[in-house]
């Protein structure tokens, strides 16, 4: 085959694969929080770099879509740039950095600050879809636990946190109960973002390429972060406002500013930060 040009289908994946993915997605939407095994394909980026998200997006994306890709909340992180360029190259799709303009938002580790709407789909890149994996390493066993709704182990873990530290010591990938039935990993988003999933008007799809699982939170589904009556779930908070745009009540990146370890806090969501800062500049009379 030396020298022969190689061409790929629109959206990279072949149509049969897209159909397989769409079936898995439909099943996932029908059983909120349930991990649907799917025949994950190789894609032209390494496992662990968003191959699940890329497959879900590839199965969804059409000519009318506008794609936004973020990593750590930012549109300009290298892997987000790489994935966005991939879909421009193989699907010729329109892209944006504005959350409110996007129809599909592929993300790693964050939910945007801007509230989502009914006509938007979030696609999460998931490294470990099984919330029980570090408590029980066997898939055969965790599958049984989900089937029997046997989640005692997770509550014991949270209880042990409280016994040791006086509070729950999980800060990201904080387990949630979906639709009152399935325990689910929200992917490694900070627990700060967990409440955004609860009864969200948008469709949230989760793709774990290496682990070959797809799961979903349909619009307006209950997503409860685990907790106890006397020790309820408490998301992390930041006291200081963003050093660039002055936002409060958003997730922050800590930027080290000198060799002495001084730091400042800025918005993790670059789109939110830019627009808030721009709006402020407009308000100030020239």
């Amino acid at each position: 085959m030396t020298g022969e040009p190689i061409s790929y289908n629109t959206g990279y994946l072949d149509e049969q694969t897209k159909r397989m993915l769409r079936r898995a997605l439909l099943k996932a939407v029908a059983i909120p929080g349930f991990q649907v095994p799917f025949a994950s394909r190789e894609v032209p980026m390494p496992r662990g770099w968003g191959t699940g998200g890329v497959q879900v997006t590839a199965a969804l994306i059409g000519e009318d879509d506008v794609l936004k890709v973020i990593d750590q909340g930012a549109d300009d992180t290298t892997n987000a740039v790489s994935i966005r360029k991939f879909f421009v190259a193989v699907a010729g799709v329109a892209t944006t950095t504005r959350t409110d303009e996007a129809s599909i938002i592929q993300t790693r580790h964050r939910v945007p600050e801007t509230p989502l709407s009914e006509d938007q789909i979030m696609v999460y890149q998931v490294p470990g879809p099984e919330p029980l994996r570090f408590l029980e390493r066997r898939e055969t066993e965790t599958r049984r636990m989900h089937a029997l709704e046997d989640y005692g182990l997770m509550y014991v873990k949270l209880y042990e946190d409280i016994a040791t530290h006086g509070h729950i010591a999980t800060t990201y990938d904080y387990p949630v109960m979906v639709n009152g039935r399935y325990l689910m990993s929200p992917s490694p988003i900070p627990s700060f973002d967990n409440p955004k999933l609860h009864r969200s008007p948008a469709l949230h799809l989760f793709g774990a390429g290496r682990e070959k699982r797809i799961y979903a939170v349909p619009p307006y589904t209950d997503v409860e972060s685990l907790g106890f009556e006397d020790y309820p779930f408490e998301p992390q908070r930041f006291e200081d406002p963003c050093a660039i745009c002055g936002s409060v009540g958003v997730y922050m990146d800590e930027i080290i500013t000198d060799d002495a370890g001084s730091s400042m806090l800025v918005c993790s969501d670059t789109d939110h930060c830019e627009r808030t800062a721009a709006a402020k500049t407009e308000q100030v009379p020239a």
Binding site: M1, T2, I6, Y8, N9, Y12, L13, D14, Q16, T17, M20, P37, F38, A39, R41, E42, V43, M45, P46, R47, G48, W49, T51, D71, Q72, G73, A74, D76, T77, T78, N79, V81, S82, K85, R108, H109, R110, P127, R138, E139, T140, H165, A169, T171, Y172, D173, P188, P190, F192, R210, K212, Q236, M252, D253, E254, I255, I256, T257, S268, T270
Partner: protein
Amino acid sequence: MYVAVKGGEKAIANAHALLAKEGRGDSHLPPIDPSWAVGQLAVLVARVMNEGSLYDPELAARAILQAQGDALEAITLVRSFRTTLPRFGYTVPVDTAALPPQRRISATFKDLPGGQQLGATFDYTHRLFTERDTDGPQASPNGADGADAPAMPRVSDLLGHDALVQPARPEHFTDPEPPDLTREPIVFPMERAGRLQALARGDEGFLLSLAYSTQRGYGSTHPFAGEIRVGEVELEFEPPELGFAVPLGRVEVTECQMINQFKGNAATPAQFTRGYGLAFGRAERKAMAMSTVDRALRADEFGERRVAPAQDEEFVISHSDNVEATGFVEHLKLPHYVDFQAELGLVRQLRAEYQQRQELEGREEIDEEVLV
């Protein structure tokens, strides 16, 4: 500064330009042509084809060059291409007993029908640097290419006549359509056919170490290399609309049958059991490791206690795919500052609480002293 990670498009473009420059090496020298690699790096090409799960020497050679010699990167390239190809179906089962072997050895019998044939092997070479032979080797000795070799029945079949070896297929075997793990998700526990597929594309180094571990007491299977053979087999495909098989071409394969001691139990008399390995090209280490691990994974079939990693299907199969392994280990290069920020907050909180407790305890001790 860490924000440099948010480099964006320009940084990526520059990095890739630099990568291309590094990979080109000395520009005064001609670039390596993939067709040279097919012949001169055939063992590496075979590895990329095996773990890339695609028999295409030219393309594998191209992948090796594009990946600048990084085998796993080349394998990832091949896999990403392979997965876009349409799948027509299964070929007619390959009869490896009929293949004219270029190499065929048995470690269990000094002589056997068809004889031993060393073939192209690194075995018994002295691992000394030699002068590079730019003229190429002299004409090969008679018969060394295997074209005129006599029929060589498989060693395991010879033993099978006496029922000393467990039959290759169980009684009432109906030859069901095997699963295709590139088209269906893996669900544990697996069928042996699916497991062999996973092992065939599994990382050579990982399988080698697992096989080695069984030899050092971690799930011992007492293996003997019953037979190793290398040669070309013809592939045939039966299109449903034709109703008869048509030849597709020939592929070079290495096959290894490990024969393992089994002391028997209440239901089965003592006999030898089998482990099976098959790989594209000259890939003897891979085939041997694969067959050893295959046998170790059959522990349940023989009522053996599963005590070692090599006997643990979930452990072995979940971690044998190097495309998955390298991707996930290397993904730690990606920014994790959102999660790290969350952990930073937690560690600070835990430290502050620790400090508070220390101070509180200190004060209580003082109070006690005052009381005394």
